[in-house]
């Protein structure tokens, strides 16, 4: 496919195949026919975008694949990547009535991928025709900052309704963490980009390589557009702030993943050998699992509390363990040990109880690389440039979780930058809800 956005072909992530490949026709039929077609179905309520799951599944069962995809996209325009990246175990599939019956829940994510992948395949006719102008009121212009799932969902919803949406993205490729952060065995970057091409074909405009606050100012956006949506996500990897951290062999997790997903093998410099991952969240588990799959000799996760307190999902940790990842719990990094040439040789750690260091427990864990996955910084600076937009104690933009409204009536926000870091599907819901709120407000203003 000729894409507007080019990635090198021999990226590191290509070595990791899909763990949940596309279902075949027979599998999709059989699985969709198992769905009970529940009423007031719990799976719908458990989906942050409230996709009408029984309806889309029944359409697969009858062979109406495009209709099935339409049902999905009406609620979630990024239904394809959500199908592949959602932690369905704790969302829709976790709520399926079959669980209570001690039977395997319906594979909702796999079926959702089946419908959306077929319906967005190259050569398929367009599924939606955006309105040329809103049904009521004038065509408005909206600027969106960051081309992650939140902004893409917001922009698509506005465009379909006949408004004009322009996204500004600082990186050369759009998609945010959906393109640069998702574990490759769930979604490869080129598949994320294929979906974005499909969204852009609806009429959404994206300007890459444009950083708001540097290339374009906040004021310019506020002056030039009817509304601004901030979907900037989170910032750089947080550092441990201990001795020896700066230097070769120590990586920030999100940056490490971005290199693995977007760079050529020769440029990625991932230092696979004996790898230590610091952290206990899903990003830490992802990095550990990816390192193991990519052939690291040994991968251990260093986490400062007990295994039960990890914020990462149990099903993800189970997966990592199967890949050979070990967990060194109740352990806190103390410093990085380097040889005379500055080469990293070990991570010095102390043991902890309830997260607090215990005296005289220092010891070295020999390693070739350490990946630090203890969170991402908040983009406080950018938000400050929009008058009236406030931040909470965590550094997240204060916005109404239902509508995305901020302290500035012209500024809306959603996704990781307001929730501190959840899932793609939450960002999609936020973006869509903000767009729906704007559309409703503009159309009711017009009828006044």
């Amino acid at each position: 496919m000729i894409s507007r956005f080019q990635l090198p072909d021999d990226r590191v992530e290509k070595a990791l195949p899909d763990k949940k490949p596309l279902l075949g026709l027979a599998e999709a039929r059989a699985e969709s026919e198992r769905c009970l077609y529940c009423v007031d179905a719990p799976c719908i309520k458990a989906c942050p975008t409230e996709i009408d799951v029984p309806t889309f599944i029944k359409k697969i069962a009858t062979g109406n694949i495009r209709g099935s995809a339409r049902t999905i996209f009406e609620q979630n325009i990024l239904g394809y990547s959500c199908a592949r990246v959602c932690p369905t175990e704790v969302l829709c599939e976790g709520a399926c009535v079959y669980n209570g019956w001690q039977k395997a829940p319906i594979k909702i994510g796999r079926l959702q991928r089946y419908a959306t992948q077929h319906a967005t395949a190259q050569g398929e006719p367009a599924m939606f025709t955006p309105k040329s102008a809103p049904t009521k009121g004038a065509r408005r212009k909206v600027a969106l900052v960051g081309a992650g799932p939140a902004s893409l969902s917001c922009a698509a919803t506005l465009t379909l309704e006949g408004h004009e949406a322009t996204i500004f993205e600082r990186l050369p490729v759009p998609g945010g963490l959906n393109t640069t952060g998702i574990a490759p065995y769930k979604l490869h970057a080129e598949d994320a980009l294929h979906e974005i091409e499909w969204v852009l074909d609806l009429g959404v405009e994206v300007k890459t390589g444009m950083e708001i606050g540097r290339d374009v100012s906040a004021k310019e956006l506020l002056d030039g557009y009817d509304a601004v949506f901030l979907g900037v996500g989170l910032g750089r990897d947080t550092k441990l702030g201990v001795v020896g951290e700066d230097g070769p062999g120590v990586h920030g997790a999100v940056q490490w993943i971005e290199r693995m997903k977007t760079l050529k093998k020769s440029d990625a410099k991932l230092h696979l050998g004996r790898v230590i991952v610091v952290g206990g969240g899903n990003t830490a588990i992802d990095v550990a699992r990816e390192s193991a799959l990519l052939g690291a000799e040994h991968v251990t996760m260093v986490y400062r509390r007990g295994p039960d307190e990890m914020s990462g999902y149990l099903h993800e940790m189970d997966g990592a363990r199967k890949e050979g990842v070990t967990l060194t719990a109740n352990t806190l990094p103390h410093s990085f040990v380097r040889d005379a040439h500055g080469k990293l040789v070990a991570l010095r750690v102390v043991q902890t109880r309830h997260g607090k260091p215990l005296p005289n427990t220092e010891h070295d864990l020999p390693c070739d690389a350490v990946v630090v996955a203890i969170g991402q910084a908040k983009l406080r600076e950018l938000a400050k440039q929009f008058p009236g937009v406030e931040m909470d104690d965590r550094g997240c933009i204060k916005a109404d979780p239902k509508t995305g409204a901020t302290g500035n009536p012209k500024v809306w926000s959603g996704g990781d930058c307001i929730n501190g870091g959840k899932e793609v599907v939450n960002a999609v819901a936020d973006g869509r809800n903000a767009a729906r709120t704007l559309i409703a407000a503009w159309s009711s203003k017009a009828s006044e």
Partner: protein, 449 residues
Amino acid sequence: MADLTTEFCGIKSLNPFWLASAPPTNTGEQVMRAFDAGWAGAVWKTLGDPIVNVTSRFGAVDYAGQKMMGLNNIELITDRPLSVNLAEIRDVKKRYPKHVVIASLMTETKHDWQVLIQKCEDAGVDGLELNFGCPHGMCERGMGSSVGQEPKLLTEITSWAKEFAKTPVFVKLTPNTGDIVEAGQAAVKGGGDAISLINTIKSIIGVDLERMVPVPRVGQGSSNGGYCGPAVKPIALHMVAALARDEIAGTVPISGIGGVSTWRDAAEFIALGASNVQVCTAVMHYGYRIVADMIEGLSEFMDRQGIANIAALRGRAVPSYKEWGDLDLGYKLVAKIDPKTCIGCQLCVTACNDGAHQCIFTGPGERTRPPHAHTKGKATAPTPLPLGKIAGDRVPWIDEPECVGCNLCQLVCPVPGCISMVEVPGGAHETWNDRVAAGRGKIPGGIHD
């Protein structure tokens, strides 16, 4: 262990399971394998002047993942020379003297019938089955169901066969008729010793929508065929029962056919008056091996029920098959949901609300009944609200005074045993016919009120 042997018009059979005349009884080699698997009898694929068949021949209805819920075919009678079939029959009878071989026959003139019957009996068959049922192809040539649909013709040809036959004559009826009892009586009138039914139902199984040709497709055309398999069982059960309780048709034994796939199906046919059963589709789907479970399952069931032999099971449910007007209007059932096993899918809620009597609700407190409800006031949730082990507060509840006991919720509930229909005090026993006899047959609100 229950005695599964039967005697049918004097023909002794090891068990009540026979193969119907169809592809599973095409050849001697097949029939012998079937006997080895446990089948007690086989009605040979219909004999007559050989025909030519088309490709393709079968079509099926799949339902929600279940393959071949119904099967349709446009195949004709045997396409093999009569002499070959007869030689094989002779061989089978020699090797399997305790097993039953019935020749299914179809031909035209009286003389043809005479010759055909004689040749079959010479080959050693235990009986003859007259195929008056095939609803495709052969009927266009004045045979098969075109005979079965014409009572006079049916009686006449049966009497020809009786004139020539030394072995028992079974008349196989077509369900493609207005009144099966009329056909059954005609068979008895012609002297038929037994009735087999049903043959297949005239049908078009579907359309190839890309080519706009019905299926099964033969090049750019197709033809109506005969429908059989699990989907037709209810139709067959009714026809068997209707004959079994008829004063004339019910005087001869019945071989029940149509959708028999399990021992349970067989038990139902026998309870409604069949003396044995014949099977086609289930064997075409899963092979001869299914008979092992049929034999064992039926025997276990009969032991459990204390039914010693097939004769004792036969017709047990016939007396309770009544006219609608003789049913008890005072009897009342209501639905009960077991919160322990309910999974909270709420299919019952929607089924009752849209397709029945608007009396299943969810959640605590009062619920407004629909304006047409018979009971005054609001429906009230039971207190405490039933909380399910699995479904929590998603367990629905029944507004009992409004429940008409129709069964729909129980039928849609995916969890076996979760919804039960329980008997509650109703009115005094009274039937519609009682009411009419007592002069209370007119209900207010009629056409003239």
